[in-house]
């Protein structure tokens, strides 16, 4: 039977996302954020979520709407506060969202460790700072490192440029950012792609996320202007 990971609707794409889950959300700033999938998760009503994303959203829609919804218990990110991150800022100030701040490179490396079956790794970033407080420190060849643990998720929501029915993906410019590593680090990887292409349309040399990492693909190509 042909492998077909393409689902017809956003609703079908996010089916099964439930209370208490950990969700990775791709994007850096406004580039590469799967806004339609986030909105579908909001409609689904799942709550008590842990979100792993580099930022915490700006404006009133997409990631910001999720942050403001009261459904996110905790966010793991590197840079939550930006101009316009009012939704998150308010919840944070009110003590309604727990924040785990992780250096950006450590954040992506922890995801990769989860994806690659690495049990833990020694990382030079943050040694001696507040962000490494309480972490095991080890000196290796004269340099200090902190022990960092893998970061996995139940679900990854990823925005891509092109996808085929196996789930092979390409991205657009700096919208690639966290997409590939999140796709690898989650149990269930859900993709919104601007274009669906035939299985033989992608050059095997230039696929950036291989089909093995992708579970569901939904086609989203609207001209909607998001307030993000």
């Amino acid at each position: 039977m042909p492998i077909d990971k393409i689902v017809p609707t956003l609703e079908a794409a996010v089916a099964g996302i439930g209370d208490g889950m950990t969700i990775m959300i791709s994007g850096f700033g406004f580039a590469g954020v799967p806004n339609d999938l986030i909105e579908a998760v909001l409609k689904l009503g799942a709550k008590d979520l842990t979100v792993i994303s580099n930022n915490a959203g700006t404006g009133t829609e997409g990631l910001a709407a999720l942050m403001g919804s009261g459904r996110v218990r905790r966010i793991i990110c590197s840079y939550p506060r930006s101009k316009g991150s009012d939704k998150f800022d308010a919840r944070y100030a009110a003590g309604e969202i727990e924040l785990e701040l992780v250096p950006q490179g450590t954040l992506s490396e922890r995801m990769r460790a989860a994806a690659a079956g690495i049990g833990a790794f020694y990382c030079p970033t943050g040694v001696g700072t507040e962000l490494a407080a309480g972490k095991e420190v080890r000196t290796i060849e004269g340099r200090d490192y902190v022990l960092e643990m893998p970061l996995r998720a139940d679900v990854a929501l990823v925005q891509a440029q092109k996808a085929d029915r196996w789930g092979n993906l390409t991205y657009s410019k700096s919208a690639r950012n966290f997409g590939p590593v999140m796709a690898m680090a989650a149990d269930l990887t859900i993709v919104q792609a601007k274009e669906i292409v035939p299985l033989d349309a992608m050059d095997p040399e230039t696929i950036m996320t291989q089909s093995i990492f992708v579970d569901r693909v939904v086609h989203v190509d609207n001209d909607r202007e998001w307030d993000i």
């Binding site: 039977m1 042909p2 492998i3 990769r112 989860a114 994806a115 690659a116 079956g117 690495i118 085929d164 029915r165 196996w166 092979n168 690898m184 035939p198 299985l199 033989d200 992608m202 095997p204 040399e205 696929i207 291989q210 089909s211 093995i212 990492f213």
Partner: protein, 232 residues
């Protein structure tokens, strides 16, 4: 069942037939790594009505059978360094990423060769311990700990006729307790928590004869089938 067995009362499968039997057992839609040796032959005998995505640790996903003579591409080989072809949907990537797929638990099934397999699924397939010859581990240990399931494809006995399915591996282990299923040129055997269960045997082979070539106790599944494959 106490009739004397003669050497020619059954016929061993060829390597290609053994590969065929294993290939037909792979679930539709699986992502499957083919290890060095007999496993790589599976790519040539995959069931036509299923879409199974083949992985090779040298950075290839979604490959197909060997090319026609004259159509070989020096840059397109499998883990056994044999020429392959690509299927639509396939992808190339670097070695490190191939092992992200393996070690990270993304591969549904790995088919591996073996020097020895124990009745509890221990696998020895990287060295005989003979210090005159360099050992070679390749990706075997990574696959053994990383793939969601491990099947072994091997001749049932050594060239000297000794069992390769043993009580305890005498060769150094690749990994302990990882093998779930064994395809040999004589039988298909599940490694179950209750011991070895024969799911299929070649025509004319008896349990006694198979047991004589297998160290740990075996028992036949209630629905034990005849193991057969197209000639070739």
């Amino acid at each position: 069942m106490s009739t004397a067995m003669t050497a020619d009362s059954f016929t061993r499968l060829t390597r290609r037939q053994l590969a065929w039997c294993a290939a037909q057992a792979i679930p539709d839609g699986s992502y499957v790594n083919l290890g060095i040796g007999v496993p790589t032959l599976c790519a040539n005998v995959m069931p036509a009505d299923r879409e199974i995505v083949l992985h090779s640790e040298n950075g290839v996903l979604g490959f197909g059978p060997a090319p026609a003579a004259g159509a070989e591409d020096c840059d397109l080989i499998n883990a056994s360094k044999e020429y392959i072809t690509m299927r639509p949907g396939g992808a190339f990537f670097m070695h490190t990423d191939a092992f992200v797929m393996i070690r990270g638990g993304h591969i549904d099934l790995a088919l591996l060769g073996a020097f020895e397999v124990s009745g509890t699924g221990d696998l020895a397939n990287w060295t005989t311990g003979d210090r005159r010859f360099p050992p070679g581990v390749g990706g075997a240990m990574d696959l053994a700990v990383g793939a969601k399931a491990i099947w072994v494809l091997t001749e049932h006995t050594t060239k000297k006729g000794e069992p390769k399915i043993v009580d305890t591996c005498k060769y150094p282990l690749t990994a302990a307790g990882v093998v779930r299923k064994i395809f040999t040129d004589l039988a298909e055997i599940d490694v179950s928590p209750d011991g070895l269960v024969v799911r299929a045997m070649v025509e004319g082979l008896t349990q006694e004869a198979l047991q004589a070539m297998t160290q740990p106790p075996i028992r036949l599944a209630d629905d034990c089938r005849v193991m057969a494959a197209p000639a070739g």
